[in-house]
Amino acid sequence: MKRFDAIKAIVQKAEDKDSLLICNIGYPSRELHDLKDRSANFYMLGSMGLSSSIGLGVALSVPERHVIAIDGDGSVLMNMGSLATIAHQHPKNYLLVVIDNGAYGSTGDQLTATALGTDLAIVAKGAGIDEVHNTFSEEEFREKLKNVDRGVIVVHVDAGNSKVPVIHLTPEKIIERFMSECARPSMSS
């Protein structure tokens, strides 16, 4: 399984739950945009490390909507404190999915600490998050996604990017449509 396959599964869940979806910088956002561009997708074009924080802020502010943040191993390693903050806030409408490919995928696949022994699922547990799932196959990941709406899912994938174009939406457009999505009621039953 590659990151692209994991994002494909996340998009399905986001569609089912009418979720607001915050996506990590670089290839993850490009892959999401290529798979399914939605107004409810926030493509974080800069600020590496902050996807999980933006997602938390949205989740706490719009408690009636389901919120998913897609993050990566390199990014979570850069902002590990976010896991502690998520733990003490524990919003029930917030799911953080960490796609762990053991590499800085947008900058040439340099190894991250997770390729050298760091286990982000244990880190998330240790930070105090009560619901943490560690998944190693596409089947297992899809099964967890189906049943889990909050907490953290770590999904282990092989490194490698898909051949997808850059996002041509302007930052102004991305935030304008995302904020309109935040302001409407959930269509999910």
Binding site: I22, F42, M44, L45, G46, S47, M48, G49, L50, S51, S52, S53, I54, G55, L56, G57, V58, A59, L60, S61, V62, N79, G81, S82, A84, T85, H88, Q89, P171, E172, I174, I175, F178, M179, C182, A183
Partner: protein
């Protein structure tokens, strides 16, 4: 009036309903006031950069966010303030205890304290330096500018601010 009460009143009057914080000794009286106010969510964070991200999410979700912080945390936030707030035109109210200015007793506070105004200038973040008498209006004004210009605005609370009671 008490300096902490004046700052809290300014935040309250402005309609701030979402506060993230990293503590400073000069802000310590304000945190319990925020915790006791049912109209405000208070989220203590581990690092200011994280707070910038959470506040950006809160703003997109329709809240009026503020970050209570020490100026040392400005250095921890610069990439986010530029590549998130400036890029996407996201307003943010930074209520900043300014250490390392006149009256400082801890030498480690000086380097960042002296650089703080010029860093804000470089980041194109407007700032106000109020007294106790002007702080309520200054906070209100700062948020109005933040919304108008769609960018972060800082309220710098110098050491003298807290000593003028």
């Amino acid at each position: 009036m008490d300096a902490s009460v004046a700052v809290f009143n300014g935040i309250k009057m402005t309609g701030v309903d979402f506060v993230v914080s990293v503590p400073c000794i000069n802000l310590k009286e304000i945190f319990p006031m925020i915790d006791d106010d049912p109209t405000m969510i208070h989220i203590p964070v581990t690092r200011e950069e994280e707070g910038v991200g959470i506040c950006a999410g809160a703003y997109m979700g329709g809240r009026i966010p503020a970050m209570l912080m020490q100026n040392s945390g400005l250095g921890n936030s610069i990439n986010a303030l530029a590549s998130l707030n400036t890029l996407f035109h996201i307003p943010l109210l930074l209520i900043m205890s300014h250490r390392g200015c006149e009256g400082e007793t801890i030498c480690a506070q000086y380097p960042m304290g002296q650089m703080t105004p010029s860093l804000l200038d470089t980041l194109d973040i407007p700032y106000v330096i109020p007294t106790i008498d002007t702080v309520e209006d200054a906070i209100h004004y700062a948020w109005r500018i933040a919304i108008e210009k769609k960018r972060p605005v800082a309220v710098l609370l110098e050491i003298g601010f807290w000593e003028a009671e």
